[in-house]
Symmetry: C2
Subunit: 423 residues, 2 copies
């Protein structure tokens, strides 16, 4: 198989399909989503068999348990996929919306129309549910999509692809609107990110290694985030009860998520009050605390069993584990400086009752999501009310923060004239 | 001079200045703009002298007349710069605007705040007025900017830079918020586009050669457009009078602009009626018509003096001259196919009285500005009501079409909580 030629063909077919998707009516797109959900329900046993093949191969290749877990298409996972599609059906169709139509002195009327991006390439790891989530969101937003899932899930993804195509055709939409790459050859990824003429945007979902490589090599713009080094800053005018609750939740609700707090900053004046209280909670979860000198003194003073000295590296480490960096700062200005220097610009939160500091923190912290008196764990498409999430962006151009249907769209200017010419 | 080190220093200083600019108040930014305008008025004679040095050097180097023209800072050009700054003062400050604040079932309130992009690098050719336009728009939108003008304008640009810094300092803003690169060494451009850690976006303004090179080499996202291959499609249900007026204006109002029509598409059924009429007008401007077979027959039938046979290359050529490609098409579907294939996705217009075709054309033509019954020449920030324009984008991510102040901003999610945690 000539990979370059194969991916070029896929790209050309996607481009053609994208034109038809761009003009598809809402009811037609919803019909396709419903048919896909029905097909998945009907073929659940076959999907589990295909998934079993992937799991057997993965075990034979010695894949680690966490990976196998993500690869597994359980009955629950299948039900969640179906539910996800049904939920996308209920979301408002963003396409075709015209806003801000205003008459200009020349007589023309100018506004903006929301339109699909075109062709979206999605590169992800061995989670078969992403195949359906991504296909569903791209169909609803009128895009064509090229999906490249992890090679470990190839059988399952191909089985899902067949059902997606069945649903598209059943609704009268082009089967090429969703194409799942049929080869596990890694050269396919290189080809996919090198054809801006057929692919409008790449959304990588996966580990830092994958994304760093794609950033270096991609010729196509990306919607991506590299990591989540999120902060909570407890101001000296914080409500201590809120502070403790939030700092505990932000670290311990889940360790492996990108919106989990990795560094806790505490104003010097309030540290002796809140840090020992927090330590009692972190102790129940056996959290390792990597503390600066001052925080370390307080923690050792209350016999915290698991304190180490933070190094410079800790301030820019995403632990994704029961580890937390802790630092005492002079005041909010010092906290903002620290955050703007070390944060991955994902999500940062202040706990304070002070109005002026709230407003300054919100404005001056340069991150995709900035919060006051709330856990960083809320930075999520569902929690923000987007209805669904295709990913999260730490970048400032185009989509920023959790990316929902709107992030898969663009706007163009539309002009209604009556024969006007420029003079 | 170590160029790499110099540009890194410039970038670091810009990043620091950008933090201060992001929190600057509207009145302070307006004060700086006003002070710069006053300084330009005061120092107009000195500016003209600096410009004379550039012009002398340019003449000695044998620069062509059109280039010298753009390089010249006439009294009129100086007055226009001052006026431009005063106009930017009157524009609403986009920064800090919070929209869509909605309560979520969890109790948090989620919305979006408009914020500056950060540091904007602008690379342009020998037009000194761009230095002031760009500086003004970046100041108003709370960004820091690094300006790299054409080397031919170095004396004039440095003189302008001094006045900009004077205005910034006078208003209490950091002088580093606007830095004009002090070297004409081309390596500076390479360094500037290679430091995403200090520069958030690059806006190139210049010829196709410059922009193609930057696309290949830039490590920083760009807001750019490559060329303007704009179309007018005259539908068989067009009002012939509007059609003739628009197709004449779109080509002949100005030849050298990116929103000038380069290809005219005419529905077969109406061609014998409108093309001879149009030919009478084009004849007055001695426009060369590169026609397909059918259009050629009609044009020769009415003795048009300057018809040649269009080749495949003509459909994707931006003439920027009194040359127009003309093609007869079956119907609107054929026109849309042609446009989506050959257009540079800049601006395309349909002339028709048919409602359904209007709506389909607006939705299905994949360009930054899509018009009905209006000249493509309207695709412009001032005409669209943006107040000012930093450039035009043919891309779909982030800004698309004419880019005004909003295009120099991003939004971040802001969350107002009351101690909420995720459960």
């Amino acid at each position: 198989m000539d990979i370059q030629q194969y991916i070029t063909d896929v790209g050309q077919r996607a481009r053609i399909a994208s034109r038809l998707m761009a003009r598809a009516e809402t009811a037609t797109k919803n019909r396709a989503l419903t048919l896909i959900a029905e097909a998945i329900r009907r073929d659940a046993p076959a999907l589990r068999l295909a998934n079993q093949k992937d799991l057997d191969a993965a075990r034979a290749n010695g894949l680690e348990e966490a990976m196998l877990d993500r690869l597994t298409l359980s009955d629950q996972a299948i039900a969640t996929m179906i539910e996800g599609l049904q939920q996308i059906v209920t979301l408002a169709d963003p396409i075709g919306e015209i806003s801000n139509m205003k008459y200009r002195p020349t007589g023309i009327q100018v506004g903006q129309m929301r339109v699909p991006l075109g062709v979206i390439g999605i590169i992800y790891e061995a989670r078969p549910n992403v195949t359906i989530d991504a296909a569903g969101l791209c169909i609803k937003s009128g895009n064509a999509t090229i999906l490249r899932g992890g090679s470990e899930a190839i059988h399952c993804n191909q089985a899902l692809a067949k059902l997606v195509k069945e649903g598209l055709k059943g609704a009268g939409l082009p089967a090429d609107a969703v194409q799942v790459i049929e080869t596990t050859d890694r050269a396919a990824v290189g080809a996919l990110i090198s054809m801006p003429e057929y692919v409008d945007v790449i959304i990588p979902r996966g580990g830092k290694g994958l994304i760093e490589r794609l950033i270096k090599e991609s010729k196509v713009p990306m919607i991506k985030h590299l990591d989540g080094i999120c902060h909570v800053y407890i101001d000296d005018q914080a409500d201590p009860e809120k502070a403790v609750k939030i700092a505990f939740n932000a670290k311990c609700h889940r360790y492996g998520t990108c919106n989990t707090m990795e560094t806790l900053l505490i104003a010097r004046a309030i540290a002796p009050q809140v840090l020992p209280e927090l330590a009692l909670l972190y102790r129940t979860k056996d959290v390792e605390l990597r503390a600066d000198d001052e925080a370390g003194k307080i923690l050792r003073g209350c016999d915290y069993p698991h304190v180490t000295a933070a190094t410079e590296e800790d301030w820019s480490t995403e632990y994704l584990a029961a580890i937390l960096a802790v630092k005492i700062v002079d005041d909010m200005d010092a906290a903002i400086d620290h955050i703007n220097h070390y944060s991955s610009h994902h999500t940062d939160s202040i706990v304070t009752e002070n109005y002026t500091r709230t407003m300054r923190f919100l404005r001056e912290v340069d991150s995709a999501s900035v919060m006051v008196n709330a856990s960083t764990r809320f930075a999520d498409g569902f929690e923000f009310g987007l209805g669904a999430e295709i990913g999260i962006s730490n970048d400032k151009l185009h989509a920023r923060g959790p990316v929902g249907l709107d992030g898969l769209t663009s706007v163009k200017y539309v002009v209604f004239g009556h024969g006007e010419v420029r003079s």
